[in-house]
């Protein structure tokens, strides 16, 4: 069996999903340290595994750590961040994401207005972005690839666009350029950190469509960070719900939206404004706020805002356990 060949694997016991995983995050914890030396725990014990061609959605409110997770997977954590523990595992090997940027990893950022260099042409930037991945290609070849990719992401007249500067393009167009750039690298993991948040609604739909279509081009997995549940439900295969730096629920997309087990997930879904909602009902919101990340409660991080919280919730943190078919939830009282 091939398992004997893989005897150097970090962990012998694996589920089916993990065995075919392209990229995994194992037990990742990240803290921020402020200038007084105080530690804020922004990510705790994160486990993820992504299959080839799969799109995994990461949702949660602001401050839940979803962008930090995206940046940690790219090795792009800010200077005041400390990786406490954990590994990124690519094709069964523990890797340093910094060494893989632009090769196995590529990223699309939130704000396309600032993510492109203002005084360099689109073409130069798209060529440079491929340099790490294709070091032996001629600039001419890389430029040709860039033009072809621009066509694929729906930009007409690509040759002309390559000599444009970012300020000559619209926001949606710039985000298309960013996506083209990411696809050019042919990454094993494409990280998209709220790629539609800065765009208006019609453009948002187009960009989401582009991510869906990118599966034809991209063999790698996509980590799609978003605060829009609607977008995630349409686009992703699997969803991870983050709250205060921890995974509270993880499931296939249909399962999560049809049968959410964690009270926080249920509340999030209830808060999502529906575009077909004609009623005058007031917007629902979850009362309370995130716990203090510098001194987390002993029990469940959501207990202070949870309607179902009991004695045990305030004392012991619930583990992330199976709550259905390929469904995990961290709750003492799953719904």
């Amino acid at each position: 069996m091939s398992s004997s060949l893989k005897s150097r694997d970090p962990e012998p016991a694996k589920t089916d999903a993990q065995r075919s995983a392209l990229i995994e995050v194992r037990d990742l914890s990240v803290s921020f340290v402020d200038k007084h030396g105080e530690r804020f725990s922004v990510l705790r014990n994160i486990d993820l595994s992504l299959q080839p061609k799969a799109i995994m959605g990461v949702v949660g409110e602001s401050g839940s750590g979803k962008s930090t997770l995206a940046n940690a997977m790219m090795g792009l954590l800010p200077k005041n961040a400390v990786k406490e523990k954990g590994d990124i595992i690519l094709k069964g090997k523990v890797v340093d994401p910094i060494a893989l940027r632009g090769r196995a990893l590529a990223m699309v950022f939130q704000d396309p207005m600032n993510a492109l260099h203002p005084v360099m042409t689109i073409g130069t930037q798209m060529v440079d972005a491929q340099r790490a991945r294709f070091p032996n290609h001629l600039i001419r070849e890389l430029r040709k690839r860039a033009a072809e990719m621009l066509t694929k992401v729906g930009i007409a007249d690509p040759e002309k666009r390559l000599s444009c500067y970012p300020h000559e393009l619209s926001g949606g167009m710039r985000q298309r350029v960013m996506i083209a750039m990411a696809l050019l690298v042919e990454p094993d993991l494409l990280v998209a950190d709220e790629p539609t948040t800065a765009l208006d609604a019609t453009i948002e739909a187009q960009i989401a469509e582009l991510f869906r279509a990118s599966r034809d081009t991209l063999d790698g997995a996509t980590l799609f960070v978003s605060h829009s549940l609607g977008l995630v439900s349409e686009l992703c295969d699997e969803v991870v719900v983050l709250y205060a730096g921890a995974i509270v629920e993880r499931a296939d997309v249909a399962e999560l939206f049809n049968a959410p087990r964690h009270p926080y997930t249920r509340a999030l879904i209830a808060c999502e404004p529906r575009s077909d909602d004609q009623s005058d009902e007031a917007m629902v919101s979850i009362p309370g706020g995130l716990p203090d990340l510098s001194s987390l409660p002993a029990g469940c991080v959501f207990a202070s805002r949870c309607l179902h919280a009991s004695q045990i919730c305030r004392q012991i943190a619930p583990p992330l356990v199976t709550a259905g078919q390929n469904h995990l939830a961290a709750c003492w009282h799953p719904q």
Partner: protein
Amino acid sequence: MFRYMLWQIASLIAVLVGAVAVLVMLTDLIPGDAASVLLGSRATPDAVSALRHSMGLDLPAYQRVARFLWNAAQGNLGTDAISGHPVTGTVLRAVPNTLMLAFGAIVVSIGLGLPLGVHAAEKPGGVVDRCTAFIAVGLISTPSFVIAILLLLVFSVRLGWTPVLGGGEGEGFLSRLHHLILPVVAVSFGWIGYIARQVRASLLDVLGQAYIRTARAYGLSNRTVLYKYALKVAIIPVVSILGVGIGDLIGKSVFVETIFGRPGLGALINSALRDRNYPVVQAGVFVVVVLFVVTNAVVDLIYAWLDPRIRERFFRHGDQ
């Protein structure tokens, strides 16, 4: 673009007219009539009024401005009030010396200030950064004439490595360079520190921008990120500082040229002022203003060349 150029030339001329007007008025404002000061207290009234007439001082101010500009346009900057020679030749002989000094100082300031600033920004709070900050404050706050005198004492008088006086006129290129070393160092000292600090601040700001994160996310080397991506934007404010700095450079060269006895514009204006040789002062300052305005126009063009966003604004300006 063409209209932009026209607009630039028009504003250039306006600045020159304004500068000449101020110069002419200064001659009026300085206590004592220029002609009687030149001739001394025992001159006869006839002699004074004759000189006033030949210097054109009896004309109303606006006519003097017009006459100066008209003559200047034809290459005549006036007549030396003491020697009676045309001033143009005197000034034009001084210009290359000053240009060499200014150009040398710019090259040295950028050549040293830029890498220092980049190194300081690379590791903020590191050894290079702290040293640069310390030295820069020292360099900026020490007047250039103090540095000039110290350099002169140490390197020329004590060690004898460099010539004491003059610009090496009439000698070979190497001798001219040799004469240039100390004055250039004296003028550029403060600028090295200033540019290093500016580059550092500007670069730190740019390194925090999202497009730098993009470059890093695509695995570009630290070197490429720093020198190709970051510096391209960080250099833009530094260029505009240089534009303004030309004036400071010329101001400093007045002192430095005087101390080193370099026959440049600064030294010429300085000695003409002491002699109350107003036509020479006027011509000298006029040429300085021309140099200043022209370098600023060049800096504007460099600015537009560096930043396509500004370039586009120029084009739009031209389309109107």
